[in-house]
């Protein structure tokens, strides 16, 4: 089950119950969103352990603050925003004010040859982005958030989110094509 698979009405009731402290409802939210949150955290940190810690603390934040979420339909971007924030804070605590990720590549450095973008190059290009920009790219290109949801996640209007994303893509294009 993922976030989109839950019907809108079901999401509202699950979020309400989870916000009130219902364990089973909260477990459903975890099952639906954990993987996406882990991807965002990993995009921000570039480190499995840090990403795991970030997602754990995000669930703690969600457990405590879910009741304050006004629109239950926005739970997905809300959870992803919480995760990006937790990951950024963990990264800052670990590396100090400079929050660039390491360009050390775990696994295959070449990645998927069909994409035309090598894993090492991608990692290096991502390292030049800010943590928030890395989260935004992951939210859009991997988790497929709409521009409305991106706006919710970054606390801006959908058009502002689109503009920011467009600037990031231009930058990545330059980094990946020009090296």
């Amino acid at each position: 089950m993922n976030g989109q698979a839950m019907g809108s009405r079901t999401v509202a009731s699950i979020v309400a119950l989870a916000g009130a402290g219902d364990e089973a409802a909260f477990a459903q939210l975890v099952a639906a969103h954990h993987a996406d949150m882990a991807r965002v955290a990993f995009a921000v940190c570039g480190d499995r352990e840090l990403a795991e810690d970030a997602v754990q603390s995000s669930w703690l934040v969600a457990w405590r603050k879910l009741h304050s979420l006004r629109d239950p339909d926005r739970v997905r971007p809300w959870l992803l925003a919480v995760t990006a924030n937790e990951a950024r804070q963990l990264l800052r605590r670990r590396h100090g004010p400079v929050v660039e990720i390491d360009v050390e590549v775990p696994g295959d450095p070449h990645g998927d040859p069909s994409t035309g973008i090598e894993r090492l190059d991608l990692r290096r290009a991502l390292a030049h982005l800010s943590p928030d920009d890395r989260a935004l790219v992951a939210m859009h290109y991997v988790i497929d958030l709409s521009s409305d949801e991106l706006g919710v996640a970054i606390g801006a209007s959908p058009s502002a989110a689109r503009m920011r994303l467009s600037r990031i893509v231009d930058r990545l294009k330059k980094e990946l094509r020009d090296g």
Binding site: F26, A43, W63, H67, I117, Y141, R177
Partner: protein
């Protein structure tokens, strides 16, 4: 969102491959149980009789209640206050009101004309005053 160009499609595919390393495995019930045990949700101040109110709604209701109480209190106190002017006209015995010698351009006001709506002193009780009936008042007639 606009159609993705070739670069964006490549970027999305590369990102998906890269983020496969993310720690996505989880035991949802375990996380929920641990959080519920370590950080149990507090009961609201109203306990189980919370009427489904969120804290924000409860604060708004409390504020509205206070304002209503203030309004009702103000009305109750305001009802008991004298709201009409009381005019005391100093008069010596034997004098009678006479019209002004030269008529005023604003009308024929007499020396004892009271403002419109004024009630002669003594016709109704007033806070802090004694019940005194003046000879010229309607009560004395």
């Amino acid at each position: 969102m606009a159609e993705r160009d070739r670069f964006e499609l490549d970027l999305a595919a590369a990102l998906r491959a890269y983020l496969e390393d993310a720690p996505t495995e989880v035991r949802p019930t375990e996380i929920a149980r641990q959080l519920a045990t370590a950080y149990p949700h507090r009961q609201s101040a109203l306990g189980r009789w919370g009427f489904g109110l969120t804290p924000a709604m409860a604060w708004v209701l409390l504020l509205v209640g206070l304002l209503l109480a203030l309004l009702v209190g103000g009305l109750l106190v305001g009802i008991q206050r004298p709201d009409q002017a009381v005019v005391v006209v100093p008069q010596s015995p034997g004098t009678s009101p006479t019209p002004a010698r030269s008529p005023s351009p604003w009308g024929t006001a007499t020396a004892w004309d009271a403002p419109r709506g004024a009630v002669p002193f003594g016709s109704r009780p007033c806070w802090g005053t004694e019940w005194i009936v003046q000879p010229w008042s309607t009560n004395a007639l």
